[in-house]
Amino acid sequence: MTEDNQPVETNELYAVGLARAFGGAVIFGIPLMMTMEMWSLGFSIDRLRLLLFIGVNLLVLIGLSYFAGFEKTFSWREDVMDALAAFGVGVITSAAILALFAVIALDMTWTEIIGKVALQSVPASIGAMLGRKQLGAEQDTGAEDERKREAGYAGELFPMLAGALFLAFNMAPTEEMILIAFQMTPWHGIALGVVSIALLHIFVYVLGFSGQETPPEGGTFMRTFLHFTLAGYGIALLVSLYVLWTFGRTEDTALAQVAMMTVVLAFPAALGAATARLVI
């Protein structure tokens, strides 16, 4: 008999994975479910921006399924199915917990209920995907590394994008993000940007967390810094701006203020980008 270390996907195994997905959805989703601003954003956020955001979330889920997957055989069907299942788990978990908190109730209009659940399902579904993939024991890290290698530079950047999106989204709804930006001077802004870039570089290449990236072969410090660290910070900035726009924070606001808010939000986004590479 030949030894096969690839577990057969049975219903039992899938059910265990699904249970882990619910666990991940609760753990990753709970901070935002208990954030007041998220409830009102659920119904006040621009509908088209909300739609676009959920669409982006689905794409990120498919990407996560690809990069953090435990099955060697890559197929679009599998990854899309995984993403849909994770989204479904996110929606069900959000609806159940919001109902438990009396944030949604049957006497509310369905537009309000759906808005609240849809917005919460974004972090919950990312949690579901990570819970299923990361909390499980049968993860095939070999396949993961192989995929990252195959994807090349994009394989380096995508996890940063997912991590930045997740952490930026966790912070952006709160009033504090704007308040912090308002009370900072331009010098504070510049300092915060420099600290963000430094931490991003240190977290990924210096500290030696598990899953640390080795700087590309033959790469000088400058090359690694430009190609990966600065690219990562660029992603953090773009993701922050996108999330702020989604939440309507950029409306009728001076460019300088928007820039300051983006730098403030890019701080957690950069940390998310740095640590996501270690998680995924």
Binding site: M1, T2, D4, Q6, V8, E9, T10, N11, L13, Y14, A15, L18, S40, F43, S44, D46, R47, L48, L50, L51, I54, G55, L58, T73, E78, V80, M81, D82, A83, L84, A85, A86, F87, G88, V89, V91, I92, M108, T109, W110, T111, E112, I114, G115, V117, A118, S121
Partner: protein, 140 residues
């Protein structure tokens, strides 16, 4: 031995193509929820989200309580857009006496939704002497 190996290869082949039915169920439910959410939010987007809020206030009940009367009311936003910091004022005009004023602020009244509240007055409110209205709102 040869037979054994053939059997193994068949097994592997099956393994690769086999998707547990639970996976179909889970992703099918996910697909339904996704389409449902996209559909309903998309419908709202093109419905009437553009019109600014309009808020009507109705008295639902007047109950005698210790020290006066409790007037219960509901404030209904009849348009699709959310109003925040909605201030409701209740004015109870007296027969010759000074009017009693009540204030309530709702943090939010979402589109096509209502919020309930109450005010206390010392005199008995009668229909003709009691007026409740929304004073204003802020865009969220």
């Amino acid at each position: 031995m040869v037979q054994q190996r053939t059997a193994d290869r068949d097994g592997t082949q099956q393994k690769a193509n086999h998707t547990p039915w639970l996976e179909w169920v889970a992703s099918g439910i996910g697909l339904l929820l996704t389409l449902g959410i996209f559909g309903s939010i998309g419908w709202q987007a093109f419905d009437d989200a553009g019109a600014p809020p309009a808020i009507a206030v109705d008295v639902t009940r007047v109950v005698p309580v210790e020290g006066g009367y409790r007037v219960e009311f509901r404030a209904r936003n009849s348009t699709g857009s959310t109003a925040s910091q909605v201030e409701i004022e209740g004015k109870l005009a007296g027969d010759g006496a000074e009017a009693e004023i009540g204030h309530v602020v709702f943090d939010y009244i979402p589109g096509h939704s209502e919020r309930k509240g109450g005010m206390f007055f010392t005199r008995e409110p009668r229909q003709e002497s009691l007026a409740l209205r929304a004073l204003g709102f802020a865009d969220p």
